[in-house]
Amino acid sequence: MNQPKERRKVLADDKPATLPKAQTGIHGLDEITQGGLPRGRPTLICGCAGSGKTLFAIEFLVRGARLYQEPGVLMAFEETSDELVQNMASLGFDLRGLIEEKKLLIDFVRIERSEILETGEYDLEPLFVRLGYAIDALGAKRVVLDSLETLFAGLTNTAILRAELGRLFHWLKAKGVTAIITAERGDGTLTRHGLEEYVSDCVILLDHRISNQFSTRRVRVVKYRGSSHGTDEYPFLIGERGLSVLPITSVGLSHVAPVERIETGIPRLDTMLGGKGYFRGSSILVSGTAGTGKTSLSAHLVDATCRAGKRCLVFLFEESPSQLTRNMRSIGIDLEPWIKKGLLMLHATRPTLYGLEAHLVTMHKLTDEFKPSVVVMDPVTNLSTSGTVAEAKSLLTRLIDYFKTNQITTFFTSLTSGDQHLESTDVGISSLMDTWLLVRDLETNGERNRVLYVLKSRGMAHSNQVREFKLTEHGIDLMDVYLGPGGVLTGTARVAQEAREASESVLRQAEADRRKRQLDRNRQTLQAQLNAMCFELETAEEELKRINAQEETRNEVEDEDRAVMARARYADAQAASEPKEADQQERSSVHA
């Protein structure tokens, strides 16, 4: 039990001893070096001519002075101070201002071969003195030597030079300055004169190559003693604001996932996606073959976003902005007002215009400036034409990372070519996507109809139905689902089914009505019969009452008559037989 504890303690003790680093301030570089260059040590930057070594080094000084309050000294062997000031001004670096503020000192070392004659042993102490003087004058923390190899061109005694350079690097370390030494790349070696032997703490290689007629710049951390670092080749660009190493965003997956939803612009599609639409900050892919309505789907999202008062940035790789607005007007989506309001920006470029990295930087720049909440790329597959598929994928991975970190919803359309499996994308990005809608043509009964379904949608309950949709002048219309024996019915088959169902329901209704009427008639007949019988009953009762009353009256009369007759005959024995005859006569007269 005790052992692990002890080990943990040792680890904890080790932690503070990690290498202190000096942030370069160069976009993206601090991420791949995990914090910058080794502080107080020299770093070697090597690369062929025109690979951006000087710019790298100077940006390190400028950012150091501006962002981290670390003054810097530039010992330039190739360009004069004035030339450097001019060259860097084109990249937005105000060296003159820094020099005036005493945050930068440029010491131009000119070695003129024709002036120099070697007459024996020597050393490079003046360089040390000049550098030391400059460092002390500013209290400099950063030093750039660009490029020391010029010494080899001016002085011939390489044995002395090598010994002196070794001494110089030790001296720089002792001074505690973070230094950058640039060197030209040699044949098969990192540097032409083997400087990497002396500068062993950190070596960064810059590369500039042409592939498929596109020039790409790449940076690689060859070694970094005492620190972990990204080992890949990372593309970088020299832009209007200096160097940008990509990925600009971190390599890790650490973005926050919002739970908010945004509308798709198509109410019935919202319903399919758990009733609320896409997640904000998620990545959405619509893939499908040509002419299946991918762009229209994206236009709905754009419209809905702008309607909600949020900004939307659209990168078009196929259509011009006016072509898009015209086409979308035909399905009832007018994007023009959003552009005028400044809520929508359409940026159209040919993918082949420049390399992938340049595209990436343009996208970053526009996104930074415009601050959209939704970004649409239409179609993303076209990007692979200006690079390989693998490059396109890595670019998209970085883009998605970047957008997700900034909680920007991204909507990509991907064109699936005819011979490809539908559930695949040209650039293999589907695995990076949170929501994947698939649109396709369904060919039945001699017609093509568009259907849409949700292939996946992470983190939400979503419909599993294949839905037919129509492009109407009011936009995309998702149809009701009719299932036939062969699956979902689309197009005229659906219409026929609809008609059949409609007529069936009419027939059913008529039948029901008819039966209702019949029953009603029956009821009425019965009622009538009932009424007649009641009437008969009443009549019979009345008759009975009348007869009873008559009989009573007659009996009384007979009794009276008998009494009268008896009184008249003065007899009483015959009185009982005579009334019977009279009764019978009375009854027959009633019946007649």
Partner: protein, 122 residues
């Protein structure tokens, strides 16, 4: 080692004051501190000047530790460096002046007969 090399040089002018009348030599010797190498360079320079230039020269010894800005202004990268400021053109003789023949060539007191690379080989 100058004696080992076959002589391919000839005097540019008589090493006499008469020939140097028009051209006065202005020399500066940059050294770093008082290291043995510095001292040897200073002595060598003085001796050389006296021998070859007669009295028509000024030799200024500058310690870069004392005047670091001067090293920058005159683009000194190595020490010892003997700078011939006058007569024109400017010439920088880098090294401890041990190769006196090359020093003389550098001061235009000897004219090279052979192509340059032969001389450089030493």
């Amino acid at each position: 080692m100058p004696e080992k090399r076959p002589t391919r040089t000839r005097p540019a002018r008589p090493a006499s004051p008469a020939g140097a009348e028009q051209k006065k030599f202005m020399l500066r010797l940059y050294v770093a501190g008082t290291t043995p190498r510095s001292i040897r360079a200073i002595l060598d320079a003085e001796k050389l000047c006296k021998e070859h230039l007669g009295g028509l020269f000024t030799l200024e010894v500058i310690d870069i530790y004392q005047r670091p800005t001067l090293a920058r202004d005159e683009q000194i990268v190595a020490v010892p460096t003997l700078v011939r400021r006058l007569p024109e053109p400017l010439r920088k003789l880098v090294g401890d002046l041990s190769d006196s023949e090359r020093v003389l060539i550098g001061l235009d007191l000897l004219i090279r007969d052979q192509p340059r690379q032969a001389a450089v080989a030493g």
